[in-house]
């Protein structure tokens, strides 16, 4: 049965290793309900690693880093148990990490979200949208 996993959930996953691993589901729910697989990003709480682009720090307690380069397909039969649910802000960090490891934003002509924020583009875009919606 498809659809047991939801976007933003963190699952313990059995990969046949010594211990189960934690993955965050990044595939949207339409996908999750249709297919027997999910797209997921590995999370690690290894204390010896620093976060950075492509490896966003989601939480500081315990330090939880998303390894966005290790985005993978997981069959739902290997999803063992829901471990957690990420917030919108944490999922946004993963989304930015995915952009960083794929550089997809450059292909579609979008400024990196953090840079857009620093140069005020986001604010300007919101102002433009607001003006447009007021004009309609």
């Amino acid at each position: 049965m498809s659809g047991k996993a939801r976007w933003s959930q963190v699952w313990w996953v059995d990969l046949g290793l010594d211990e189960n691993k934690r993955f965050a589901v990044v595939s949207e729910n339409g996908w999750n309900e249709t297919f027997s697989t999910v797209i997921a990003v590995r999370l690690t709480t290894s204390p010896n690693r620093d976060p950075g682009p492509g490896f966003p720090l989601l939480r500081s307690k315990p330090p939880t880093i998303a390894v966005c380069g290790e985005v993978t397909t997981i069959h739902e039969d290997d999803l063992i148990e829901v471990a957690d649910k990420l917030t919108l802000g944490e999922m946004r960090q993963i989304a930015i990490g995915l952009l960083e490891v794929t550089q997809a934003h450059r292909l579609i002509g979008i400024t990196h979200p953090d840079i857009a924020e620093r140069i005020g583009e986001r604010k300007r875009r919101l102002q433009r949208l607001r003006r447009r919606s007021e004009a309609v």
Partner: protein
């Protein structure tokens, strides 16, 4: 007392300003000041992108020797293949 500052542009720059409005995303009849602001913004954006590129590659290097790096990805692929996730592809 206010002082007037005169800036002289060379011809090449004037030509670039005349042509560049589309790339800069400003109106064709935008003022030079507006175009300069757009140039500055573009340059700043590029500088931030370069900084981010450097940080990204530096982060990759620090993670490259993580013991679990690649191991889990391989295990996940093997597992997904064994479950038939890639059948038909």
């Amino acid at each position: 007392m206010m002082r007037r500052i005169t800036v002289t542009l060379d011809e090449a720059l004037e030509q670039a300003i005349a042509e560049a409005h589309e790339l800069l995303g400003v109106e064709a009849d935008a003022s030079d000041a507006e175009k300069f602001r757009a140039y500055a913004r573009l340059g700043y954006e590029q500088m931030l992108e370069d900084e981010l590129d450097e940080a990204r590659l530096g982060t990759y290097r620090t993670w490259a020797d993580e013991p679990e790096s690649g191991v889990i990805a391989r295990a996940a692929s093997r597992r997904a293949a064994a479950r038939g996730a890639y059948e038909g592809s």
